[in-house]
Symmetry: C2
Subunit: 643 residues, 2 copies
């Protein structure tokens, strides 16, 4: 995969050069470098922080403002009970093995996979076969070639067993992996030590709220739970009307939207007709099962009609995600929507499409768009007793007859004590059929046994002195339901990384001159101001230009170093600054300036007012360079000297 990856200009992608640029221009680095860095933690330097901030502003405008979503900022510290109920405490975990001598913790499936793959490779080498280099990571390469020195041949039967295990690795339980580790004597490759059996380790960060240890908590693994628990407030704020959506811009670079919708009526979306004709690159489940990874361009209206995409709301959000990616400058040839396989979905999802972006690591999930159905609201409702439902007023109220438990509370209280409420709830929750049956039993035998999940005994004996079931008339004026949730969840960090790769290319005939061609609407800095030379005569013009840019809130950088203009542009192309304004000696006479476009290196010349206006419109996305070139006179004069 990665060896085929090319830049937007069709050039082979050189990841080492790209990473060197990111380091040199301080886009990002591993956190706490003076303390030896911490694996997995990154700091964003000025260019990346600004890029992120602008991508998030577009996200806010594209989703929150334009779709009238309700923005929420919920607590990041989340009590244990909440995440126990949501399923994260039990299921948001990986199996890990500890190396008891070094203290290293290794993911069990990765450990087994790495060791068996290394043995198969060694076997291939021992048998004199050419070994394909699949991995690009230079560290990994080094490890592999080391292992290759003492190449060991395997029996045919063993080789086949290894291959079978590797193909099925995702399906093993913790115990199963423990057996594999024992059977094949799998050890920590970096120490040669035996490892302890796999233990399920939760992936969340644990802490506690307050000084007492009575309040264990986690840093939220997603922003969704806070939104679910705010459901009642949101419903109130939207005057009880569905559908509505809430949105949270989270730490950990996940921005999540929760769109609450009535499950009846096929999850229709009121604005679906406005996007029905938009074609998306869809890679559905069946195509994947058939072994293909080629998406098909399908109009979303067609896709929903044929049930390729389950419902309008899911379809509507796929289109909005597509349009968002276009706005921020993603290479649309490197985007696809892939449907999750049935066994791949999260524990809460009933359907899920990922928006994947192609980068040099392969196709990468950047937005998950899941139908969480009624899962979350239901489990929280059950755990807390708080009603998390919406109501629909019925146009024609209906009168029905139904069986109802009538409880003599004066007797029930003293008899059932602390279990009384749970028993009452259990009796009310029984089906109509069961209630009728119980009444018949009690009429004949005077008593009956009822299962009650939530009490210690698990069941209770009731008798006619305490309970009877009656058929009562009831007028139904509204329908109560647990809304379903469609959740687009954005990994902003991955989107930013892909955006940087998609923007990267090098000038023809000069690989050392690399460019990050960020769209003007997201570029961290918009304008590079270049006086032709270090000359105090330019000072008043610089000051005037500076003031004009400040007035329009356009970010800029002044480069007054002595090097040639061409060199100054070239080194700032690496920061992705889309426009350059040159102040030359002509400017001293007539005040005219030249404006240079980073991608084409073409220039126009006009008055300061016209140049500022053009830049201002381009950074707002209201005009393109093509529009500006059509309006303002081209300038060739400096071309040679400048490039």
């Amino acid at each position: 995969m990665s060896t085929d990856y090319v830049t937007q200009k069709g050039q082979a992608f050189d990841r080492a050069a790209f990473e060197s640029l990111l380091r040199r221009k301080v886009f990002l680095w591993q956190s706490f470098e003076p303390y030896g860095s911490v694996k997995g933690l990154f700091d964003y330097g000025p260019p990346l922080e600004q890029l992120e901030s602008q991508v998030i502003q577009i996200w806010r405008d594209h989703f929150i403002r334009s779709e009238k979503m309700m923005a929420l900022k919920c607590s990041m510290l989340t009590p244990y009970e909440v995440l126990k109920t949501s399923g994260h405490v039990d299921r948001f975990a990986d199996y890990m093995c500890k190396d008891p001598k070094t203290g290293e913790i290794l993911r069990s499936d990765h450990l087994i996979g790495d060791v068996l793959e290394a043995r198969l490779k060694s076997d291939k080498e021992a048998r004199g076969e050419k070994v394909e280099e699949k991995e690009e990571d230079p560290k990994k390469k080094k490890k592999q070639s080391k292992a290759a020195k003492g190449a060991v041949k395997l029996d045919d039967a063993v080789r086949q067993e290894y291959e079978h295990v590797l193909a099925m690795l995702d399906d093993y339980t913790g115990e199963g992996m423990g057996e594999l580790i024992k059977k094949y004597d799998i050890r920590n490759p970096s120490s040669g030590n035996e490892v302890e059996p796999p233990v399920s380790v939760n992936l969340m960060f644990q802490t506690q709220i307050g000084a007492s240890s009575n309040s264990p908590a986690f840093l939220r693994p997603e922003t969704a739970q806070g939104q679910f628990l705010s459901f009642q407030k949101l419903l109130e704020y939207s005057d009880g009307q569905l559908p509505f959506a809430s949105a949270s811009i989270g730490y950990s670079f996940r921005n999540e939207i929760e769109h609450f919708v009535d499950p009846e009526g096929g999850k229709a979306h009121p604005k679906f007709h406005t996007v029905a004709d938009v074609k998306l690159p869809l890679l559905d489940r069946n195509t994947q099962t058939s072994g293909s990874t080629k998406p098909t361009m399908v109009a979303i209206g067609e896709a929903v009609k044929t049930k390729l995409v389950d419902n309008e709301t899911l379809g509507y959000f796929l289109v909005r995600i597509y349009q968002f990616m276009q706005k921020i400058g993603i290479d649309m040839n490197k985007l696809r929507f892939r449907q999750h396989m049935a066994n791949e979905m999260a524990h809460y999802a009933s359907d899920c499409w990922d928006c994947e972006l192609l980068n040099s690591y392969g196709w990468t999930e950047c937005v998950g768009c899941a139908d969480r159905s009624a899962y979350d609201l239901s489990v929280h409702e059950k755990a807390t007793g708080t009603v998390l439902r919406a109501r629909e007023q019925l146009k024609n109220p209906e009168t029905i007859e139904e069986w109802v438990p009538v409880i003599d509370k004066k007797k029930a209280g003293p008899k059932f004590k602390k279990d009384a409420k749970a028993i009452e709830n259990a009796l009310e929750a029984l089906s109509q059929e069961m209630k009728e049956k119980l009444q018949i039993t009690m009429e004949s035998e005077g008593k009956a046994e009822v299962p009650v999940e939530d009490i210690a005994a698990g069941k209770v004996e009731i008798d006619t002195s305490i309970v009877k079931f009656e058929k009562q008339k009831k007028t139904i004026t509204f329908r109560e339901f647990v809304p379903n949730v469609i959740e687009p969840s954005f990994g902003i960090g991955r989107i930013l990384y892909s955006l940087m790769e998609h923007s990267y290319w090098t000038r023809e005939n000069d690989e050392a001159r690399s460019v990050l061609s960020f769209s003007p609407v997201v570029a961290p800095i918009k304008v590079l101001v270049c006086p032709l030379q270090k000359d105090p005569k330019f000072a008043p013009l610089i000051a005037k230009l500076e003031e004009a840019l400040d007035n329009k809130s356009i970010s800029f950088k002044i480069d007054q170093t002595g090097v040639s203009i061409g060199k100054r542009y070239s080194r700032n192309d690496e920061l992705g600054i889309p426009f350059g304004i040159t102040i030359d000696y002509e400017a001293l006479d007539d005040g005219s300036l030249t404006l240079r476009d980073r991608d084409s290196t073409k220039q126009v010349r006009a008055s300061q007012a016209d140049i500022i206006k053009a830049v201002s419109r381009m950074v707002k996305g209201k005009e393109t360079w093509a529009d500006v070139v059509a309006r303002l006179p081209a300038y060739e004069g400096q071309k040679e000297a400048a490039e």
Copy 2:
């Protein structure tokens, strides 16, 4: 204090009514309500999230873009060692007492204060004196009046002792507080139980990085440390030039700026002259010691000249903070800058001014502007050995002679083994005087003893076969120094709360009609669209208006409920929507609309294009309502019906 607090219209401030508004319009609530809420954690609902987002956008523009600061996004998880070095592990703590029977944890100083104050109050009541109600909090009132039932008289000597203890409470150590608790039999008021002795409890949230327990970490208690540890990258990005500033928008609502400056040259600021005439309300240390809390309006140029404010950089930031508060709509009569008393400063600060805002809880610190001197960079440098310094090229390089240790590394390595590097560093770090003295000792005795802090033995014996000190000539071309840091640190949550209180008032003659008069630049929603009645005839005009507002990215809300326009405006005044656009039957004929100003309730009438232009300019802060009224014709027609 709080009883005197008045709204911007001079009305007595009714906190209960204000809080009820915040709840009703879902500005904020305690987090995890369905799980019984968690004390101290709050969720922001849609209006507050939007208000915050816009205040932060202004902050970004006012500080980061306009001052060309380097924005950083650093890891929130911070390894133990970093915060050990910074002093937070040892000093960011409070003394706590545990009630061993209930598990409750109580802050020791609060516990002692509350119990002794309750006893004094009970004594006063027992002696028939009138008890002043200082506390506004209704919960506290209830507690106090309960305690008053069994009023107990105290001896005069005991009363005096209690009063003395209360006055000095901030000065007691943990042990001292433990003695007080024993001596006065102070128990947990809510249980009557004895409590355990005070223990120092760190206020940070602890967690760990990765699955192994080898990597304890904390959630950062400030965003500053990440910025300090990125110092080298920032220096590189700014081509080695000081001063420069970095800025982080943090979780926990603290936005921090670190301005790095050369300590030589009096910490001048290049843009200070542009603000020198701005007058600020300053309450300095001496005035406070004299017992006054009245600030004086002083031009910042004057204040720095007289050393009231220590240096230009500190002064420059005080002005920029002042201007920021003005931009977002803070009531400038409720703002002051208070200098910290010497014993009040954080462990890293050498001078500090707080920007305090007056709200119904009293004067509240909202921005701290501290001079952290070289503290942080120095301690991290010492702990890690990473050089965290800047250099200044000297205009006239000078040649000096200095004593230098010359080490025979071939012999030193095998002899000192793992301590070799530490010993080398220690020898180099010795003063010139000491080096000369050691050389004399060694010449006479052949050996000498040198203290080495960083090795187990704490000292080392060196002899002439391994080390000698020589006088060498050296050309100095640059001066190396640890930059000093000026740190403005913004508590966005407190600023937002104060802004909400400052914006709150009620309509004359109708206390039930409350208003949040947010400035158009920060208001969560900008426009309320009101068709006169529910009438399908208005639909095309609404759609047209909707499209025009969307095109300008102006947030709006449509209120099509059947109630009167006056009522619709009134209930949306509570959301702080600054403008209303009414579509009436005249609009069907000529397309003209009316625009209503929330604060004055005055209206103008014009074409849709003119109305949109006016709103667009006002929400960008480019025009005020007064400007618009001067331009567009006033409209009185609907006045009576509408209000």
